[in-house]
Amino acid sequence: MRRHRLAIGLGVCLLVGTVLCTLWVYVEDWLPVSYVPYYLPCPEILSRYPQPKLLEQRPTELLTLTPWLAPIVSEGTFNAELLQHIYQPLNLTIGLTVFAVGKYTHFVQHFLESAERFFMHGYRVCYYVFTDDPTAIPQVPLGPGRRLGIIPIQRHSRWEEISTRRMEIISQHIAKRAHQEVDYLFCVDVDMVFRNPWGPETLGDLVAAIHPGYYAVPRQQFPYERRHVSTAFVADGEGDFYYGGAVFGGRVANVYEFTRGCHMAILADKANGIMAAWQEESHLNRRFISHKPSKVLSPEYLWDDRKRQPPSLKLIRFSTLDKDTSWLRS
């Protein structure tokens, strides 16, 4: 009798379980789909801006769209106030990585001070400084909502080695920490300063910057890696722009994929005993050909102060500091 009751009880339980699960699955369908609004409506206050002029005659200007319809960001192509109203309510945190190894720690002070003045003003920012000597990193006063993380890394004897390890270190750092702390991440060189506002116009899924030395030359003259054996090889007929290795970024997940991809390519080259002509910049350029950036920054965002500023570049925002490279790399 007990066994009989047990069997009935078991059957009833299974039946009830099935009914409940089926009901649950269908009820999920009935529930109104609730989405977090991805575009918060612009508050009415901001709408007092001039109407975009569709039939504008533009004199010598920069290209504004790549052939795959990614915007090329330069002064005059965007309305900073409008973008601020779109991005500010999203409560974004933007990360900024720099490598200060060996004597490059001397640049950190000036870099951070200029970033405090111009980089993503009004947003939460996390600076990640990778260094072999944490004690050499100066204390720079930071604004509210902005903080500094100093991450110790291993020093290598050759500066090329340090350069090629950056991709690996960034991808590992994202996996371990940055993916939880920031929404967007930019990876820049430390021997530079911000000279003018760098704001949410630079935010995108995957962002690259055009190298200031090659924006006006044909692709055959780009310093791509031209040896077939390298994974960074680019043939003569390939290439959109020559991107600078000193600035790249985007959404954290995409930057992770990107840096990991570059790191794998660098490892493959290492196994074949070859180092690309411009180290990680060659690999970066190779990867940007097959994984096209969703936004491209004009040379305003990566400039070399030794060059004469042409009229088409209206506002230089991030540029090099004159330095004696031989001393630094010794």
Binding site: G17, Y35, L55, P67, R251, K292
Partner: protein
Amino acid sequence: MELRDFWGKSSKSWLFLILLFVASFGFYSNVFNWIPRWRQREVSQSCEAHHLQGQRESPPLSEGDCCPDTCRVPRVPRMLYPKAHVLQPTRVDVLLMTPWFAPIIWDGTYDSAILNAQFKNTTIGVVVFAIKKYVVFLKLFLETAEKYFMVGHRVIYYILTDRPADVPQIPLQEGRRVVILQVRNYTRWQDVVLHRMEMISNFSQQRFLHEVDYLVSADIDMKFSDHVGVEILSSLFGTLHPGFYASDRRRFTYERRPLSQAYIPEDEGDFYYAAALYGGSVAEVYRLATACHQATLIDKANGIEAVWHEESHLNKYLLYHKPTKVLSPEYVWDERMLRKPPYLRRLRYVAVPKNHAQIRSR
């Protein structure tokens, strides 16, 4: 009494049964995961959730179930094409990008080869309404769409009609199919137009979300006359109305009565968008359609109907939810009513002449 005896004597076995029930519940929830249909639904929902919570910027312009805009950066194979020149804009006669970085799609600004590679595994849904006599336009629409619209990509035509029997059989290319969805009609043509948003909203949730990546809402009384491809696809796109692209914002035919939900004051407005062609990712179109439908209901409760019905509500929505791509008037044109200017190099989607009084009657 019997019941208490029942419990008392075999309380241990009941306890055992309860534990067994809990275990089987856990087992079942895993079993449902194994069934492919359920998993696909979950994956597409989680992808949408990722898109909705993570995606903030256009994405522009990418996980196998995700469309390029929402998730990973799409990979393109080795291709040979002419290089773009940084110091040479592709067009100098027209604006190519809005102040919020949405590209304005004109001929000559994009490379179809690269874009087709980026949007390789994308399915596009086209929603058209063929209510009452408008079924007569279906044949020309579908035939020209087969020639010019998203050629080489997977397309599903969703034909929302009250007369399924009148839908013509058009031979379709590979990877393209027609889905006929029965809907009700309304006596007044204004009501037909106003309820389109409601129908799109409902079907987005029920069907489109699981079947397509992008959704395009198109007017039926038009035909395709030139290439319309993946260059239009993004999270949310609108088209510049051919009658107002050169007008000052005060002359836009926005709804100007403050009582209406579609009200836009005279000092606001970027463009006047045409309701004849708009779209985006399914999630964004769903949001747009739901918002417009709710605005319509509120207007109805207040006894007002927006001056251009669905188009007025669409313009209000796109003013406060900026589109991530804007299509030039090449994408919606009326040859009889407008003289073609020189900067309009192609006419891709044009109006078909019709007798308004006749077609809108019973």
